[in-house]
Structure formats: structure tokens, C-alpha cells
Symmetry: C2
Subunit: 495 residues, 2 copies
Amino acid sequence: MEQLDKLEAHFKRLSHFQHLAAICGWDQATMMPSGGSQARADAMAELALYTHQQLTTHELHDWFSALDEQQDRLNDAQRASFREMKRQWQHASVLPDTLVKAKSLAGAKCEHAWRQQRQNNDWDGFAKNLKEVVALAREEAHIRADQKNCSPYDALLDLYEPDMTADRIDEVFGELKTWLPDTIQAVVDKQSQQTTRLPDGPFAEAQQKALGEKMMALLGFDFEHGRLDVSTHPFCGGVPTDVRITTRYDEQDFTSALMGVIHETGHARYEQGLPKHLAGLPVGKARSMGVHESQSLFCEMQLARSEAFATLICQHAKQAFNRQDDPAFHVDNFHRVLTRVSPGYIRVDADEVTYPAHIMLRYDIERDLISGKMDVDHIPDRWDHAMQQYLGLSTAGNYKNGCMQDIHWTDGSFGYFPTYTLGALYAAQLMQTMRQQMDVDGIIASGNVSPIFDWLSQHIWQRASTTSTDNLLKDATGETLNPTHFRKYIQGRYL
Amino acid sequence: MEQLDKLEAHFKRLSHFQHLAAICGWDQATMMPSGGSQARADAMAELALYTHQQLTTHELHDWFSALDEQQDRLNDAQRASFREMKRQWQHASVLPDTLVKAKSLAGAKCEHAWRQQRQNNDWDGFAKNLKEVVALAREEAHIRADQKNCSPYDALLDLYEPDMTADRIDEVFGELKTWLPDTIQAVVDKQSQQTTRLPDGPFAEAQQKALGEKMMALLGFDFEHGRLDVSTHPFCGGVPTDVRITTRYDEQDFTSALMGVIHETGHARYEQGLPKHLAGLPVGKARSMGVHESQSLFCEMQLARSEAFATLICQHAKQAFNRQDDPAFHVDNFHRVLTRVSPGYIRVDADEVTYPAHIMLRYDIERDLISGKMDVDHIPDRWDHAMQQYLGLSTAGNYKNGCMQDIHWTDGSFGYFPTYTLGALYAAQLMQTMRQQMDVDGIIASGNVSPIFDWLSQHIWQRASTTSTDNLLKDATGETLNPTHFRKYIQGRYL
């Protein structure tokens, strides 16, 4: 398969440039002094242009065409590699350069202005820019939809969650909507009967960092192939051989940084655990945004906020901050701290029970924005209506804590939001199966959690993008996505 | 000048990739966990290959040829830009790919083995690899010499110190040799009559870093465009808009890290002070390795080890480490600490008086190695002989602290060593002129040293590579390189 070899060599070569972009991107967010930003942005843009050119060079078209006709001569592994390379190539090459440029300009303009407009609660100013972004996203979605022969919104979904469709999400989120609002209310009522004592700061940053690194080690983070730093917005970056995770410290509340570190450690272990023999190939990358989020939420929610694991964290935290006699560090109280549920305006601050509400409302809006069923002007009303319905909160006139709170739409990343909640559902389903196969709480209590991660490695990480998300889930849990596991999990833990 | 525009656009584009290489190179030395090294090396090699291709692409040949014929239509600034682009292009394109590859392989092999061989004092093993490296360096030198119509060693010198020749260095170093050995002896004799008290550790790393940053600020380092970190071997890296300097801390001796920080700050200010309007062009880069070293040595030696500046450092250090009553921090003693002279085996540990001896012996050897007058087998004897002659120390049989101590020759960087001492000579000459034009010690005592750097900015930094080193020196000091200033400076400070 000469063409397959050529394609794989080409994509591996590309991955070296993506490596440099990942490290320089991490540097930008963690190390770079402010005065370096313009020259860095120019350098990164030049690199992005070059990698885009390399991904759309005419030779690729010839190699893909030739291989298309010989697919029956490929074995399964080769076919998967071919499929994932082709997916990347199609995503990159289908848009005309003029649209790519227009999108980039409109997105940059909208995002830049948004930073100030959000502070000023200036919906009218923001809406003007957003309309431009939405118009271009619709154009992009239509072009992608023609290529994939699907609906426009599904074509955008495919960028983040391959093979997922709005029909399937409607079904899954429809199930969620039948019980989530009532459950939120019931959990809030229940928790209002309990007394919870929040740990009292200050907690020194150095001690928080040491505690975070201790928990990372416990969760199997490989410090020979990664590190922990600080950035304004926590993320997991770098490359599989060198995974860079970040957090930010609040001296009054150490749980915020700590649970963030544990969340990013979930992402990091997936990256560190990808198969070495597929390094540099699209088929060797993480399966999807949703599957990636399932690993971080597995770590943070399924694992770390469980009673068994909260006990472990509590012991380590008590020592780290020398709070042996502090009643806030009593294990029962500490678990209540980690599982507080509180409906709020802001998605990124939400607990795991209310989080899906934030996602569903965004999904409903963006799906209809892209299909053309609704326009930008109607976003605030619809947002307010859904927030009242799901969380009992009104955002009327409060744009900055409502529909202007997220960065995603500013640069046209429609189709991304649902992956957060898909990840939560995947995670619940994986844990449900795992609990059938091993004594998860006993393993946690033993302090050596490697069997848990060995299971994830075997069923998720090592498979990378060699198969579909449906197959991954079916092979790991016996069924494709089934949202009832999430309901049982939430109601089991919180009610 | 259509071709000039095309050339400048091409080199500016290249500079974006060099930006990424600089940041990832810095990351490699300061941040990268060890397990990330192989993938990083692969990514950096891919980038180096790409930039080399871009620097040798056939279009450039056409543009340079066309412009060669129209040089009289260029103004001075355009001619300088053209000249520096052409220099880079010729340096990059003259070697056949096979030689570039052979050099890279032999260099990597020799350097890699050297790390162990040096520890084992294994000269025979090292010599075997070094012979290969020297053979390829001779081949390289001959090809470059044919292109430039000069001697082989001069062709290598040109890579680091444009327009410098062995004849000129022989002359300059010849002058040094007439007085340096006797002066070293006289200084050692004089200092042996004095009592010097070394500051007693430990000095906490965090306090050392804070002190270093204070001195950087005093020296005008722009923290909006740079930062200080830790690496095994101190260096100045990054890009002019974001200069990354490093040091390493010894808890027993804070002066080592501190003077290193001040040295790198000299490099950094040159980079930060390069003209913005020439950013990304070869003509906008630092003039040469020697001129670069002149700026670091100006900072560290001419400025920071002067009596006036040592007084400033002493005050800050006393505060930083809370040593108000420590007699080692008495200003006279402190200045003696900063100006101790002690002949030793190791170049990187040498003071400014003995340093040129280390360089002259290396220069004599590498010049004759490249010309073919001597072979690798004779290095140890010649090294021992010169060490005895200059510093009264024998390295017979002591290869690891003799001719195996440096990394430079392992990968074939012949022609680099003399630039260290040329830098010291340039620095002395610049200071001599500056002292005629302003009250340098008074300015230092005032605590606001910006007039000193304004002078360097005007005469060195802002001129970048717009003219030759000879012209730079002539315009700044009224004469080209004159080694007697260094003699007067050394004998004035130390005798």
C-alpha cells in the first residue's frame, strides 16, 4: 500500500509541527510575558497557515482517491488509519480559503470585542458581531453538510463528536429533561436540611500545588511525561509524550484548584495512555471531545467525588494544610463539600447535577441557530426561559451572566457544547460497568487505584480512534450510549 | 525593488518558524520533563529541516541573482538588508545535503558519547569520534572557503564573527600573550597578600531569585518582554519580544548565579534593544557572537564588577539575605570577592583575567586543526603545554579537566571560541570610550544606570547588523578593535 505509507508519513510529519504548536500554545497561556503576544500570535498564525496548506496539498487528493478504490485490500487497522486521515483531510480541505479567512476575521473580531462587551453587559454590541459569526457558521455548516450528506448542524457536530447526530442528542437530552429539573429541586431540598462547613482559608498556593501533585501521582499521572502549571483558564495541553495541565489557585478555597487538577489529570492520563505505536497518526489520537471529557469527568466526578475517594482526599488535605482538628475536614463534612449542588448562572462553576441544564439550553439554541429556525436576536429570551425552567433562575437583562458568559460561540465553535454532557453520560456508563466488574470502592480505599485505570486504558485509551465511539462504548459496556446510567448515578449519589 | 520585497517577505516568514524553534528550545532546557525529549527532538529536527529547505529553495537563487545585478539601485539600508540575507543564504546553501547530514550524525554521536567519556577521562574513545568530526569540519571549511575566497578557518570564523580573520586574531592574541601570563602572576601575587572572606551559605533559592530579578530591573531588563528561569547551563534564548534568560542556583554561593544573571541580562538587553522596524530580518539581528558577548561582558565585568556597582550589589544582597552585620558583606570585602583571580582548569569557571588564556589555547589548536597543521592526536600535549605556559597548570593525563571539558568541538563548532575573548576586548574598548564621555561611576552610584544603556542602545543595539563590526567599533569608539584597552583595563583594575 504505497499510498497509505505516503499518507501516514505525511501525517506524521504534520504531527511534528502540531507538537510545536501545542508547546508554544501552552507557553502562551502559562509562561509568556504580555509583551510577547503579538509576535507569538504572528508566529502561530504562520504555523497554522503552513499546517493547513500541508493538510490540503493536492498530492493528498491523489493519494486518497487512489486508496478509495483499493479499500478492500486494506486490513482493519489500515482501514481505520485511512478513515481518520481522510476525516482530518476532508474537515480541512472542504472549506474555500475565502470562508476560512472570513471566519477567522469575524471570530477574532467578535471574541476580542466580547471581552469588553461582556463586562459592560452590552448585548446589542455583541449581537451585531455574533450575527456575522452565525452567518458564516451557517455557510460553513451547509458546505460541510453537502460533503457529508447530512444536516448542517450534524456536520458541525462531526468536528467534535464524530458520527453523533442532533436526532440522537435530542433523544438523549429529551430523556434528561424528563427528570433533571425535578431531581435538581429534590437535591437542593435535601441538602438544605444538612449543615455543611466550608474549609476556611487561607490555603497557601505552594501547599495547594503540593497537594495537587500528590493527587496527580495517586491517579497515576506520569511526571516523566508531563507537568502542572498555572494559567487563567485551566486546560490540558502539550503532546502525549509531554502533557501539560494547568490550574489556578484560590487561597480561600483549595477544592476549586484541586478538583480542577483532578479533572485535567483525567484528560492527561488519556493522552499519556494513547498507543505509542500509533503516535503521530490521526488514528492514534483521542476518539472525540466527548470521550475526552468522559475521562476527565470519570476522574473528577465518578471517582474523586465518590465517598471512598473523598475520604482519601480528605486525609491528604488535612495533612497538607495541617488541619488535623478542623471540623471542616471531618470526612462526612468533606464529602458534603465536594457534592454540594447549587443552581447558578455560570456553567463553568456548576456542579455535576445542574451542569447538563446549562448544556441542554445551549444545545437547543445553537441547533436552531444553525438550522435557521431562530436568530441571534431571540437568544436572550430563550436563554432566560430555559434557565427559569431548568434552574429556577432568570437572566432577563443579565446578559453577562447569561448568554454572554461563554467564549465558544464568539469564534463560531457551534457543535462543541453537547460534548460536555455526552462526556458525563459516557463516564457514568463506564463506571456502571466497572462497578459490575470490580470492587471500585475497595480499590480506592486500598490507595492503589491502578486497576481502575488499567481498565480505562484497555477499553478507551489504547483504542484511540481505531473504532467509533459507539463501538468503544459497546465493547466496554455492552451497549451504546444509554442515558439511564447517568440518571441512576445522579439519583443514587444525591438523593 | 520587487526582488528585495520578496526576499524580505521570505525571511520574515522564516523568522516566525525560528521564533517557534527558539521558544521550544527554551522549553526543552527549562520546562520539559525528561520523557518528552525524543518526540521533541524529532519535532525540532523536522522544523530545522523545513527552515533549511526554505533557506535553500531555488527561488532565492533567482532573486539574489537578479538583485546582484541591480545593487547600484539599492540605498544603504536596502544594501545592508540584502547583504545580510545573502550571508544567511550562502551559509545555508553552500554545503551539499550529504555533508550536512554526515556532520549532524557525527556531531550527535561524538557529543552523546562525550558526556560519558568525559566522566571516564576516556581520551582514546573521544579522539576516535572527534577525528570524524574534524574531518567533516575540514571538508566544510574548504567548501565555505571556496565560496568566500578565503582560508578554510576564516570561512568558519565568518559563521560566528563576520569579516574576522585568523591573521587579525593572531595579531590581537599575540599582543595579549606578551603581557597576560605575567599579569596573571602579578595579580595572583597581589591578591595572595589580601584577606578575602567568602559569604557563607546557605542562601535560599527564592531569595537568590528575587535578588537576581532586582538586579535585572536595575539593569533595565524589560519584564514585559522576557523572564528568568532555571536551566543546567545558563543561556539567553527566546526572541527579541520575549527574551528568556536562565541561571542555576548554588545555595552555598549566591554570587555565581547572580553574576550569571547579570551576564545574561547583558545579552538580553541587546536582544530587547534591537530595532523594531527591522524585526524578522537578518539585518535586524545582533551583529555577531563577539558583539553579543561584548554586551554580556560589559554588563558583568565592566559594569557589575566595578567598585561602584559592587557597592550597589552589596547593598541589595545584604538586604536580600538579611546579613546586615556579616563582615563578608562589607563593601571592600565584597568587591574583592567579585574580583578574585585564580588560575584553574575549567574555562566556564574562569575569572576575566585568566579567561583569555583558556581561549587563546583553544584558538591556536582549532586553527591548526582546521588548516591541517596538526591532528587530533596532538591536542592533549599541546593543551598541557599551553596551560603550563599561561596558567602554570598541567593537564597531562587529566583529559576531562583539559581538552575534553567543552562541548563546542564535539559537534564541530570550530571558530566559535575566539568570539568570547573578542567580546571581552570589544567591551573594554566600549567602556573606555564611555568613561571619556560620561561619569560612569557617578551614574552607577546614582542608582539610575539608564544613560549607560542609552549609549549602548545608540551605538550597538539599534544598529543591529546594518554595518560591520569594524564600523560599529569605529563609529562608537573612534577606532577599530584595539587590544590595548583591554590590557589597560585589566591592569588598572587588578594591579
